[in-house]
């Protein structure tokens, strides 16, 4: 899937765009409370950045930047973070995924914290799954 070396414009433009794509993903992730977006969209946008890097600079370069072994940790980590927030709620004396309990004094603040953590879990899992599916497909295509 690697493009030929003389695709200079494509290489330079995608290199220029990459930090902005990843930054935009983080913006969508953490601004989801105020504007459109959230963990799902942010995860996919982040994965798109890695996929663009893989398409232009080759799969090996992408796998060096974000090793597949990390993805195997990140995929369950996001889900466990989400489920773990629920368990923390039970331990703090509330119902499962009732974020009110996260802050003993201000339930609204607890809700904000809970939503932030849960959305982060969604984003991590979605991004890791998308990138690992892309790796799996392209890796298979090389044989």
């Amino acid at each position: 899937m690697k493009l030929r070396e003389e695709q200079t414009i494509l290489r330079i433009v995608s290199k220029l765009l990459l930090p902005f794509i990843l930054l935009f993903a983080l913006y969508v992730q953490f601004h989801g409370d105020y504007g459109p977006g959230g963990g799902f969209q942010a995860g996919v946008i982040f994965a798109t950045g890695i996929v663009l890097y893989g398409l232009v600079f080759g799969l090996e370069a992408a796998e060096t930047a974000l090793p597949p072994r990390w993805l195997q940790v990140l995929m369950p980590l996001g889900l466990l973070l989400y489920a773990g927030v629920g368990v923390a709620n039970i331990l703090l004396g509330g119902e499962y995924l009732n974020y009110n309990t996260l802050d003993a004094h201000d339930p609204v603040h607890g809700q904000h914290l809970g939503i932030l953590l849960v959305e982060l879990g969604v984003g991590i899992t979605v991004a890791a799954v998308m990138v690992s599916v892309f790796y799996a497909f392209s890796d298979r295509g090389k044989d």
């Binding site: 946008i45 995929m75 392209s138």
Partner: protein, 188 residues
């Protein structure tokens, strides 16, 4: 005729044209590109209906990610579609028209778009999600408060589905090539 109606008609006409293009092409590379365009047009349509969160997802997943995965799949399988027998094509056409007619019949029971007396506006939860949530959760984007807090169980289920799908693809595709690599490594 108001301005928004003209945009609606143009977008829907483009959607139909893209769909016909996808159905008529045998080369799968342009089909993947057209499918991406179809997603982007759908995203524009969702924006017109004020569903920005859905539009965002459609643009990122449909136009961005799925197109790349289609291309990666063509690299594994084939770039052209096999010809189908004319008999089966006729049967498929009839099935498509029947399903379409049934769906159109079903829309007659739905409330008009943005109708004030639609059931969604008279449902008891309407008040809770749009008014009470400002005090309970105080997140300006109601979609986020519904998705992450009120319906936290559903979203946890969705993430589990994505995780399971990711693990399944990884086990199906990545497992074999690793074995090949280790087999190659032993030969050297």
């Amino acid at each position: 005729m108001n301005f928004e109606l003209i945009i609606d008609v143009v977008l829907l006409a483009l959607l139909v044209a893209t769909a016909i293009g996808i159905a008529s092409l045998r080369q799968l590379f342009p089909v993947a590109m057209l499918a991406g365009i179809y997603s982007l047009l759908s995203a524009c349509f969702f924006v017109l209906m004020d569903a920005v969160d859905v539009a965002f997802t459609e643009a990122a997943v449909g136009a961005g990610m799925v197109t790349v995965l289609f291309l990666a799949t063509f690299a594994l399988t084939s770039r052209t579609e096999l010809p189908t027998r004319p008999r089966r094509r006729q049967a498929a056409l009839i099935a498509v028209f029947l399903t379409g007619a049934l769906l159109m019949l079903a829309t007659r029971d739905m409330p008009h778009f943005a109708a004030a007396d639609a059931p969604i506006h008279s449902h008891p939860l309407y008040e809770r999600y749009t008014v009470t949530s400002n005090e309970e959760i105080a997140v300006p984007n109601v979609v986020t408060s519904v998705l992450a807090s009120y319906r936290g169980y559903d979203t946890l289920g969705e993430v589990t589905v994505i995780f399971t799908a990711g693990i399944a693809v990884w086990m199906l595709l990545a497992g074999r090539s690793r074995r090949n690599k280790s087999a190659k490594g032993m030969q050297h």
